[in-house]
Amino acid sequence: MSQVESWLRQSWNHDVVWSLRHSPTAIIAVFSTLICVGGALFAPWIAPHNPFDSASLSLSDGFTPPSWTQAGNTTYLLGTDDQGRDILSTIMYGARISLAVGVAAVLFSLVLGVGLGLVAGYVGGRLDAFIMRVADIQLSFPAILIALLIDGVARVVLPREAHDDIAIYVLTVAIGVSGWVQYARTVRGATLVERHKEYVQAARVIGRSSAAIMLRHVLPNVMGPVLVLATIHIATAIIAEATLSYLGVGVPPTRPSLGTLIRVGNDFLLSGEWWIAVFPGIALVVLILSVNLLGDWLRDALNPKLR
């Protein structure tokens, strides 16, 4: 018990938590992120409806306005879309897809980027030059263009009937591949510094393999900035997913993500059914803003120069 207590006290006074406690923006960001992530994560249990269950949809309930307006209906708090899906539930389920794709894409970029960065930095020479030139070339294209390219190629290569089932994985890989460069550059820079340090030399002298040195010795020492980068990248990845889905190359409309919802709602903005696009839009803004604020704060908190 006392162990737990002292651990708690220690954490409470830890630098990061201390900085959190003294930054109201960060506290708000943490809360709203928790609400977004919680709502998305527990959607199947807490959402009022299941918008992905086609059998439960009723077309007759389509275009119901939000509950507080005159034609509204308390069954559908934020109204329904063109197919009669509850907007609130669809946002929760949609955020699930957006977050899942965002986080998975970041993990993909992270593994790819950190791996290549470590190898480039540690091995050096031609391999380093090659990896970094590829990175330079990729940087000259906007990330969204690369994601579109990968998505387009995948659509041609993969069998058509499988598209909808694997759309989400294609999307993840497309966004993941478009984002590895930042990680690779950061890690390579840090590795170049670490490589000449005594502990690395010592490890090498006792005969550890290069792979072991990279993973067990160098990696833990370069991960700090990578984690900060990843937090900020999650927001970018969610936006990329929303953009692709908005353009109609993302997830299918029967299982909409936030971007798909905004795309569908866009067709009804002029005819007065504003809630279909506006609420998913607000949800996306809140989600991105909180994750970004959190990332910013983490960067400051972990940067000793700013203390």
Partner: protein
């Protein structure tokens, strides 16, 4: 698109000569709709949007007048030598847009070309056994049997230049479903009122008046710029912002608002088009399904269940905002042979559908794929999504695959589907056009050219074949009625609705409404 250089030189010379002949208030019509054309080969694809543009640049022996009556076009007059023998006298002095003169050889060549099995337009010359050249300006059509709608069929019998086609190795019709491209599928050379200057797929089509046309434009539109805009909101915004003059498929949700716009006017009209679901009733095992070793759609009870599960009124009210009429027949009102007496829509009945599925051996439903275009019919993808929900309620798991019409058309023609959403307009305004194309047993010719579910019913075939040649109008009406009823009772297709298609345009534009959704620039005015 590249025209031969000398064509440009010739064109420049001609334009210089005719510049004074251009109407005083030459105007440009900027027009937008969601769909694009599939090809410039006039014999390849029986697709309304494609035909709409072909009608601007290619011509048939006859054409529809402003009032929708048959009038002379490339043939000046004709006579019936016997019930199965027609003689057409061709117009003299007509030139194709590349300068080659038009004569009987071109008609015979076009006839043989349009019959090729890889095309889908054989219906246009259906029943014609042979086209014979009598002299340079006389052609005989020899029919297999008397044909009461021959002239209406011939409206879209587009005549190509034999010389031009041979010169550019385009004697054969483009095989669209095999993704073939030919010179004729990327370039055009008709005798018609407009020249297709440019076709950038999914981007724009540019037409310019043909200065050497044998007839005069009735309106003042000398240039047409057509922009396919898939997004409904973008299309409406373009109209509101004044970037386009005419939108022929406004999204139903915006029509009311557009009616209130002082700068715009709305033309209401019922399009002669039925929107329906087709099902594969031929494959021994259904594609894209979890049912192995059999094809559930061969069972009429399953097809009826599909129809019973559809709430057509809800689609009309919510998805179409009232701009549709629920359908039970495979031909739209406005076509000869349609009868409201037999157009009885059965209301939605979820329990009835479940019961039928259980009787057919699918108490827990089954899975199939639904192919759906997303840029062709009014709110097509939304309708398909709604159907997925309605069918889910009776236990059917439907995997929706929405795609642009260009890839959808090729997929369907390769029979790579289990069920699909499609639409059919009758260009002859006669029900047998729909019956013969959609329900007659499939052949490589006109019969069953769009029978993509490969329905085959000997009794129905007999009725359709009889209607092709029956000259007694009363007897023929009975045949059409029986055929339509037979198709309805067997649920060979599941008709959804007849779509209403208002056109929205600026106040200064005047158009002639066309029930085939085929605006004609030669009748249009922009003041």
């Amino acid at each position: 698109m590249t025209f031969p250089q000398r064509f440009f030189v010739a064109l420049a010379a001609i334009s210089a000569f005719f510049i004074a002949a251009v109407p005083a208030h030459a105007a440009t019509l900027r027009w937008a709709a969601q769909n694009d054309i599939l090809t410039l080969d006039p014999h390849s694809q029986n697709h309304s949007t494609t035909h709409t543009f072909m009608r601007h640049t290619y011509e048939g022996l006859v054409r529809y007048s402003r009032e929708g009556q048959i009038e002379p076009c490339l043939s000046t007059n004709w006579e019936q030598i016997s019930a199965i023998h027609w003689r057409f006298h061709l117009r003299k002095g007509v030139k194709f847009q590349d300068g080659t003169p038009f004569n009987a050889d071109d008609v015979v060549f076009s006839f043989n070309r349009i019959l090729q099995p890889q095309g889908t337009n054989q219906i246009i010359v259906s029943g014609v056994k042979e086209m014979k050249k009598i002299d340079d300006y006389t052609v005989d059509a020899v029919l297999a049997n008397p044909n009461p709608v021959l002239l209406r069929q011939f409206v879209d019998f587009f005549i190509m230049s034999k010389t031009w086609s041979v010169q550019h190795k385009s004697e054969n019709v483009q095989d669209y479903k095999a993704k073939e491209e030919t010179f004729a599928s990327r370039n055009s050379n008709g005798t018609g009122p407009y020249i297709i200057k440019l076709w950038e797929p999914d981007k724009r089509i540019v037409l310019a008046a043909n200065p050497a046309w044998w007839d005069k434009l009735e309106g003042n539109v000398t240039d047409v710029i057509y922009t396919p805009i898939k997004s409904a909101a973008t299309r409406v915004s373009a109209l509101l912002a004044g970037d386009v003059d005419l939108v022929t498929d406004p999204p139903p949700q915006d029509v009311e608002r557009l009616r209130g716009e002082p700068k715009l006017k709305v033309f209401d009209g019922l399009e002669a088009r039925v929107i329906f679901i087709g099902m594969d009733q031929h494959s021994p095992e259904l594609l894209y399904s979890n049912v192995k070793g059999r094809n559930p759609f061969k069972d009429v009870r399953v097809r009826e269940a599909l129809s019973l599960a559809v709430d057509r009124e809800a689609i009309k009210r919510v998805t179409m905002r009232g701009l549709s009429q629920p359908a039970a027949l495979m031909v739209a009102p406005g076509a000869h042979g349609y009868s409201s007496e037999i157009d009885k829509v059965v209301p939605v009945n979820v329990d009835g559908a479940k019961k039928l599925l259980a009787e057919a051996g699918f108490p827990n439903g089954f899975e199939f794929g639904l192919d759906c275009p997303n840029n062709r019919y009014v709110n097509d993808e939304q309708i398909c999504q709604a159907l997925v929900g309605m069918w889910a309620r009776v236990g059917l798991t439907v995997k929706l695959h929405a795609q642009p019409f260009a890839s959808f058309a090729a997929k369907l023609q390769n029979f790579d589907h289990s069920a699909y959403l499609f639409g059919w307009a009758v260009t002859t305004f006669d029900a047998n056009h729909a019956l013969q194309s959609l329900l007659r047993s499939k052949t490589t010719g006109a019969d069953g050219s769009f029978n993509l579910g490969r329905v085959s019913d000997a009794k129905l075939d007999a009725l359709i074949d009889a209607a092709k040649t029956e000259m007694d109008s009363k007897k023929r009406d009975v045949l059409l009625r029986d055929a339509l009823s037979l198709a309805r009772d067997n649920y060979y297709y599941v008709p959804l609705h007849y779509q209403t298609r208002p056109w929205v345009m600026k106040k200064n534009v005047s158009m002639v409404y066309d029930a085939l959704d085929s605006p004609k620039a030669r009748f249009a005015r922009v003041d």
